[in-house]
């Protein structure tokens, strides 16, 4: 092997790695919460009886799903600045990630809505519940429960994809890696450590979603069905 690896030389910068990992998690957290919200609204919007709302939601979802995140980030970052709006890199990163993951969430949630048996909705209609009440009480939670694994994976993917935020000066994990590797020229050691950290982060996120699932789906918890 023509290459000598010297992990200690890179590992001694662990505070930077930790800070990067923390920022990555932070980005993922905000984008997940906001994206879930926007995505759910867009999913509901796509089923709207107003052609305008349904159409707008569709355009949003399709435009985002069919272009790379990096391009979206650049367009938001430089676009806003050209308009004179100077937001911090963190704000822009969260905004772009939210817009991005919101579109995917919308698609997943829509599948969840469609998976609710017609009979459930008819039963609720038969009980004189209003449209909004039906969405809230009958559709939302079971739909989320049905697509929970897909949502979990999507949000983990979002966390991994947040690595491109290094491009707009957000100091997340990949940015830290890029800095350390160009400062030390020890690229292998750096990227191997970063890969391990990402795997750990994704496990942490999955564990978090698992725990959240326990809270969200009391029936699952009580009947012991695996999530």
């Amino acid at each position: 092997m023509s290459l000598q690896l010297d992990f200690p030389a890179v590992l001694e910068r662990w505070p930077s790695f930790l800070a990067g990992a923390a920022l990555t998690l932070e980005l993922a957290f905000f984008a997940t919460v906001l994206g879930a919200l926007i995505g759910t609204l867009a999913a509901v919007g796509r089923g709207s009886r107003s052609a305008l709302i349904a159409g707008a939601c569709k355009v949003y979802v399709e435009a985002i799903r069919n272009t790379p995140l990096l391009v979206q980030i650049f367009l938001v970052y430089f676009g806003l600045a050209s308009l004179g709006l100077k937001l911090s890199a963190f704000t822009v990163a969260v905004a772009a990630l939210t817009i991005n993951v919101g579109a995917y969430t919308a698609e997943i949630m829509r599948a969840g809505f469609e998976a609710i048996p017609r009979g459930q909705i008819e039963a609720a209609e038969g009980l004189a519940l209003s449209r909004l009440q039906i969405y809230w009480h009958i559709i939302l939670l079971p739909a989320i429960e049905k697509v929970y694994p897909a949502l979990t994976s999507q949000f983990v993917l979002l966390m991994l994809a947040s690595s491109v935020c290094s491009q707009i000066s957000a100091e997340e994990l990949t940015a830290v890696a890029n800095y350390i590797q160009s400062d030390t020229y020890r690229a292998f050691e750096t990227y191997i450590i970063v890969a391990v950290l990402y795997v750990i982060l994704s496990l942490v996120m999955r564990a978090g979603f698992w725990g959240l699932g326990l809270v969200l789906f009391p029936r699952r918890r009580r009947l012991g069905t695996p999530l």
Binding site: Y77, S166, A187
Partner: protein
């Protein structure tokens, strides 16, 4: 021995980032050009070799030679002790004067004026390291993945100061006349050198000899002046 391999193959593979103007970039017909590219071309010509430019990104310049995918790197490598632990550097073939540049309309004169101003810089460059080490100065640093993104950030108004070479600082105003930047605070002068894998003394000697010759005959200075608009420092122009 790498030198023999190169000579036998009649081809030298040089790792260069073509996205860091004016050292490496594309001309309007999308051919690689820039000061580093011309240095590489000159070297290949002098040694009678075919040139293969290995186009890289900032992150992969070094791994390319460590894993034998390229023979040497000519890509604005500044020499630092940390880096010298990983690869070997030749003598300097150029220098890089770095300044902190600010909007012409701003009042920045010295370090204290930089408080609350975000300073754009290319991530992991020696400018970045230098600024990052000035912990006492309480600077707000915005790091971009490469010079181009940093310049774009300055052009579009995301930052009002940048730490970079004078060439690049001047470039911003060319791209956006309403945002002219000029050098305000000198940062440091770095030596740029050719990088190669450790343990290749014969190649190292030959490269050093070639640099000496071309410093003396003024060819390196000419290339530098052509792209950077200024000459190399006096002690490199004998």
């Amino acid at each position: 021995d790498l030198l023999d391999d190169i000579m036998q193959a009649k081809k030298i593979r040089i790792s260069t980032d073509v996205a860091i103007p004016p050292s490496g970039m594309m001309d309007s017909s999308m051919k690689p050009t820039g000061s580093d590219v011309e240095v590489a071309q000159l070297l290949a010509k002098d040694w009678g070799l075919e040139l293969e430019l290995i186009q890289t990104t900032g992150a992969t310049r070094i791994p390319n030679v460590l894993t034998g995918k390229a023979d040497i790197i000519i890509s604005t490598l500044s020499v630092t002790p940390d880096r010298a632990k990983v690869i070997d550097f030749t003598k300097r073939y150029a220098t890089l004067q770095s300044d902190v540049g600010c909007l012409k309309s701003s009042t920045v004169k010295d370090w204290p004026d930089l408080k609350d101003k975000s300073i754009g810089v290319s991530r992991g460059t020696t400018q970045d390291t230098t600024l990052s080490n000035m912990k006492d100065k309480d600077l707000k640093i915005a790091r971009y993945d490469d010079d181009a993104t940093m310049v774009t950030a300055a052009v579009s108004g995301q930052v009002d100061c940048v730490a970079s070479s004078a060439t690049i600082i001047n470039q911003i105003g060319v791209k956006n006349p309403s945002r002219v930047f000029e050098s305000r605070i000198p940062l440091a002068t770095f030596d740029l050198a050719i990088g190669l894998k450790k343990g290749e003394p014969r190649l190292m000697d030959k490269l050093n000899g070639w640099i000496n010759d071309n410093v003396k005959n003024g060819k390196l200075n000419a290339i530098y002046k052509k792209f950077h608009g200024v000459e190399l420092p006096p002690d490199m122009r004998s």
